[in-house]
Amino acid sequence: MTGRMKRWDIWSLITFVIFAGYMIFLALPLFMLLIKSFFDGTTGDFSLAYFTKFFSKAYYMNAVWNSIKVTVSVTVLSMLVAGPLAYIMTIAKIKGSGTVRILILISSMSAPFIGAYAWILLLGRNGVITNFIFDVFGFRMPDIYGFSGILLVLTLQLSPLIFMYVSGALKNVDNSLMEAAESMNCTGLRKMWKILVPLITPTLLAGGLLVFMRAFADFGTPMLIGEGYRTVPVLIFNEFISEVGGDDGFAAAISVIVVLFATAVFLLQKFVANRKSYSMSALNPIEPKKLKGIANAAAHVYVYLFTILAMMPQAYVAYTSFQKTSGKIFVDGYSLDSYRAAFAKVGDSIYNTFIMAGITIVIITLAAVLIAYVTVKRKGAVANLLDTFTMLPYIVPGSILGIALLVTFNKQPLVLSGTAVILIAAFVIRRLPYTIRSSAAVLHQVNDSIEEAAISLGASTMRTFFKITVPMMISGVFAGAIISWISIITELSTSIILYTGNTRTMTVAVYTEVVRGNYGVAAALSTLLTAITVLSLLLFFKLSGKKEVTM
């Protein structure tokens, strides 16, 4: 009995405008990318040459295998590391577990390539730990560069996502389910395997997909620590950007293949997850208990070890940012030289980041409120399509979106390349989903009758929206906006494609300084980023009253 009167009203207009925005800044660029991949760059004729080239040369296929190897290993390893971590944190009392959770969260929010460069400083050829071990034990550590380095960095970076997903799911498992199992004499590992694992499998898969997509799309890590271990994003970047012999069309063709592959994985995950998903909400969540003896010690060691490893890059980078430098080299003693140098050399990137991320977040907040409302409360064909559009950024890697925007807006009628507008557009498209999701989550809990009550009391559609609906959504909106904000200031893969001298962001500056070997400046900027992230998170906790984040 919820039939709602369909009228052409202000909401139809809003839906239309947002829809048009998505068409111009997402659908059109992806379409252009597709066109570009199927037409020869010089003659303009239809051609499959790019695709044949890609699939026929071992050089390219090698990159594909590398990518798949990295992505699958990272995903599996992250699940193996983070699943038990979440389980331990749920059932066992761990000293300082609140702090541990926040640290794990912070570690997941930094840009992955910062992890890569920190681990180079620690375990690289001239790394602190490498040298220490050589000095003390007299042997050389195995090489960190290449596959193993990427695996280490991405696993530590991405397993927190799975940890957060699985922790969330475990919190919704009612303890009486465990007790019921025990009452039927199903205990210990068997209980875990028979009851808990099936219940959290859908969540584990969802988290796994997120890790898979991020690992697959990550460009900074293999670029820095890969040293010739070429993955697909590196390939695309090189083909597109490289000063000699760069080829837009070929980069487009690889992008198309990547997007198709990502879509297939996405659909597969959805299919599997839909077939076995449970809706749970626990009246009596599982209470952490104090473990005894060896189990207790082991649980603590595992949790602390992971936390230390995860936080290590940021902690070490922050430490080095205060070291004295002489030229590009760290020397003994402490100073703020690196910060002075950072502000002097790349101060504009800090300014750019704040301005662009600031504008982006305003647009995101507005758009997310409206989109969440349209997709939750005004169901229909257009709303469904809009919902799909907002999901696309999950499967289109950032660098590919960057390339798509560039090939679309580097010529008339709309020249945006090189401007802040194109970066902001990319940021909005990519980071909108976080805010939409958290806004929609709140909106789902707002009963339709609340709005009907306002309307029956004589309020107009817009007055109802702004006076009643928006105030009820606002906590979710802000919470999502903060997460979007953090993910914008730490994002690299799109900005590195789209930036020019005037629109350099902090992450781009960190990346270029690392590549140039200016570790002091890079460390100072990274530490600033971490500080902003932590402050934003604190604000998030305050506003949302929660101690966790859903991605």
Binding site: M1, A453, I455, G458, M472
Partner: protein, 368 residues
């Protein structure tokens, strides 16, 4: 200003499915009118058509003489109380109640006066600064009611307003609603599936089933002379028994139950000719059975016996295998043992006789 509401051959469709086919009904000015029926009968749909939240696919809905079909909800001057109250959680009690007045451009001073008056009426003035989450269910209910009537609506609409309250509070609140409605004198349309609640509050009740009104009448009419077997079984408890209607050669009607238990019926209307008989079904309420002392009546065996203080409920299995319910006032030494054989007499003045399909009440004076 209260209005009369008239439904003229109103039709509601969802796609190709007709949920309400050509329904006509008149609700009088100032009346407390209840739409009663099982879930899915279309009562809420009908209410939401009055509110303007559901479109109307045919016929006319009029307040007094004015057709309202295309007037948007906000312009109908209705007050609505929702099943889940729909209290705005971010506004306090006074702000909630004042919301409708603000939309009507009432002056600040007037707003304050009217809000405090109505909070007095519904007896929650001491909570005026509280946030909704700090109110009990009953208090939230009162806020919802105050918010709906403070705007002086033409019609007050209530959609199962008590279904979220516990039993005792439900009884208290329905009395409160009834007395507030009487005080304000506003035309009220009330939806419920609880027949006892409907009887307690309503001036008139429409019993609905599958989008069709089965009977409209006062609580007394509907209980005592149900228009058909659906109404008879939906309102209160009853035993439906197959019987035979015989018209004697002298034209006197009687109903024969069981083998030879004959009850003279004085006020039946039927087309049966003298000397003939026809199959009918009779509805006998549990209190219309009495344990017979003179040996006349239906023979049966007691299969259950529940003492409830004031009343004692008996279940008796008749000779034909049917089980019937009996309620009798408990007396000092009236214990009937399970397994005991009894004879049941029927109080023929108050029972209802239906045609074999159960669609038509044959008692004269049944109002439909």
């Amino acid at each position: 200003m209260s209005v009369a509401i008239s439904f003229q051959e109103i039709v509601k469709k969802y796609g190709d499915t007709t949920v309400i086919p050509e329904l006509s009904l008149d609700i009088q000015k100032g009346e407390f009118f209840t739409l009663l029926g099982p879930s899915g009968c279309g009562k809420t749909t009908l209410l939401r058509m009055v509110a303007g939240f559901n479109s109307i696919e045919g016929g006319a809905l009029a307040f007094n003489e004015k057709v309202m079909n295309d007037v948007p909800p906000g312009k109908r001057n209705i007050g609505m109380v929702f099943q889940n109250y729909a209290i705005f959680p971010h506004l306090n009690v006074s702000e909630n109640v004042a919301f409708g007045l603000q939309n009507r451009k009432v002056s600040k001073a007037d707003q304050q006066r009217r809000v405090s008056d109505i909070l007095n009426t519904v007896k929650i003035d001491i909570y005026k600064d509280r946030m909704p989450k700090n109110l009990s269910g009953g208090q939230q209910q009162r806020v919802a009611l105050a918010r709906a009537i403070v705007i002086n609506p033409d019609v007050l609409l209530m959609d199962e307003p008590l279904s979220n309250l516990d039993a005792q509070l439900r009884v208290d609140m329905r009395n409160a609603i009834k007395s507030i409605q009487r005080e304000v004198g506003i035309t009220t349309v009330y939806v419920t599936h609880d027949q006892e609640e409907a009887m307690a509050v309503s001036d008139r009740i429409a019993v609905m089933k599958s989008g069709v009104i089965q009977q409209v009448g006062s609580p007394r009419d509907i209980y005592q002379r149900p228009a058909n077997l659906f109404v008879a079984t939906f309102i209160g408890r009853t035993n439906v028994i197959d019987a035979k209607l015989e018209i004697g050669t002298d034209g006197e009607a009687s109903v024969v139950v069981g083998r030879d238990y004959s009850l003279p019926m004085l006020a039946l209307q039927s087309q049966v000719k003298p000397g003939e008989s026809v199959a009918v079904r009779i509805s006998v309420r549990p209190e219309e059975f009495v344990l017979s002392e003179d040996g006349r009546g239906l023979a049966g065996k007691v299969v259950n016996n529940v003492f409830l203080g004031l009343n004692t409920h008996l279940v008796v299995k008749l000779d034909n295998g049917q089980e019937v319910e009996i309620i009798q006032q408990s007396a000092a030494n009236d214990e009937v043992n399970i397994g005991q054989t009894v004879r049941l007499a029927i109080l023929s003045e108050t029972i209802n006789v239906y045609d074999a399909s159960g669609e038509r009440n044959l008692n004269r004076g049944t109002r439909i």
